[in-house]
């Protein structure tokens, strides 16, 4: 994390938060005083160099704050007199974002597993197994020979054989009714018929209530980059994502014959992509536009320089001055 602070009529502060930064370089391209430099994205992403993606030259920085508004990932925080400038009415703001409808969420965990930024945390309460089955387990401890076959085979890990101090003789067959599903494996495996299982789950199925999973889902908006993985994998359409840019990304070697993607040898694009949008298929880079946020980090990292990002619109609004419209408009090539 790098901070630049200067005191004048206003107290202004700029902080680059590397944990939110994706290494796209939009900020450094926007900076009017060339105070921001994008570092070697690929070696950093691969963990070969320990440094931040962005280096700020405090001698050049005039604390105008443009970079913080250009960044679609809120990786640069700009404060004026202690308050975040993005909350001020006269400054631009990003209208992209991800919403999760908690009423629609069934806490399946697909979004949590697929989120490339680990921005989603699900906490769910599952019902007890014993509430979903019916039955009875009967044991005859004096028949038990302490072979522990039942203990080893029980698929629910519900059986424990208690032994005496010599550890040779069994004293009790303990079946945990919170785990037992009355499957009868133990009964069938026991060489001494010491266990009897009566399963009445099917017979009583009408009395067993339908399972309702409860829980909570939390989206860390500071880390989320609105790649829409969650939206695509959600089975109940509980997620709505608005991406920062519209446009396209393509490989120029598809149309220009002298350019070649080196696929498996290189995979720089795959390593730097913050959205897990890249796969190497048949030794060529394949970028899934569904998950791509058009940040352009891959374009910077590609040593063959064959990736091209074309942004046609962005969700950065409320740009008041013409000067800022020009400079921020350059992000989408306007």
């Amino acid at each position: 994390m790098v901070s630049i602070i200067r005191k004048g009529v206003e107290n202004r502060k700029l902080v680059h938060k590397n944990e939110r930064c994706v290494g796209c370089g939009i900020c450094s391209e926007t900076c009017p005083t060339s105070a921001l430099n994008l570092g070697p994205v690929l070696p950093i992403a691969r963990g070969l160099l320990e440094m931040d993606y962005i280096k700020i030259n405090d001698k050049n920085c005039v604390l105008c704050g443009l970079c913080s508004f250009a960044c679609p990932f809120e990786a640069i925080v700009f404060n004026i007199n202690g308050d975040e400038a993005k909350d001020f009415q006269n400054y631009p703001n990003w209208d992209d974002g991800t919403q999760i409808d908690k009423n629609e969420c069934i806490f399946c965990g697909k979004c949590e597993n697929n989120c490339p930024r680990d921005a989603i945390i699900i906490n769910r309460q599952l019902p007890d197994v014993k509430d979903l089955v019916r039955g009875e387990a009967k044991t005859e401890n004096d028949k038990c020979i302490n072979c522990k076959i039942c203990e080893e085979m029980c698929p629910s890990d519900a059986i424990t054989i208690e032994t005496d101090v010599t550890n040779i003789n069994a004293t009790e067959i303990l079946i945990d009714e919170n785990k037992c599903i009355y499957c009868k494996i133990c009964q069938r495996a026991c060489p001494e018929n010491a266990i009897k299982i009566f399963c009445t789950t099917c017979m009583n199925s009408d009395d067993i209530p339908k399972v309702e999973i409860t829980g909570d889902i939390f989206l860390d908006e500071d880390i989320c980059i609105n790649c829409s993985w969650c939206e695509h994998v959600c089975p109940t359409n509980a997620v709505t994502t608005v991406k920062p840019f519209e446009g396209e990304i393509f490989r120029r070697d598809d149309v220009e014959e002298d350019l070649i993607c080196k696929g498996d040898s290189c995979h720089a694009c795959l390593d730097v992509c913050p959205c897990n949008a890249v796969e190497i298929i048949n030794n060529k880079s394949s970028i899934n536009p569904d998950f791509c946020v058009l940040c352009g980090a891959c374009q910077k990292a590609c040593p063959q320089n064959i990736l091209e990002v074309k942004r046609t619109s962005m969700k950065l609004n409320n740009i008041k001055s013409e000067a800022w419209q020009n400079i921020l408009g350059s992000i989408i090539g306007k």
Binding site: P40, P43, R46, L49, C266, P303
Partner: protein
């Protein structure tokens, strides 16, 4: 075609700001550490240009 190293710019692994970054980046085994000296193994090079693009000394070129 393969890559060549400008020895004046390279300064070898001991003086590299990336501690032999090109060797770490090349997964083809085309750049190897031979007792602190950088060696190019031509037959392993796939011309991906990762080393050229990322050398902190700009010491690697084509041909």
């Amino acid at each position: 075609m393969t890559v060549s190293i400008n020895s004046e710019k390279c300064g070898n692994i001991a003086n590299c700001p990336g501690e032999g970054l090109c060797i770490k980046l090349c997964e083809q085994g085309a750049l190897i550490d031979d007792n602190g000296n950088l060696i190019v193994v031509d037959e392993n090079c796939d011309d991906c240009d990762l080393c050229i693009a990322n050398c902190p000394n700009q010491a690697i070129t084509k041909g």
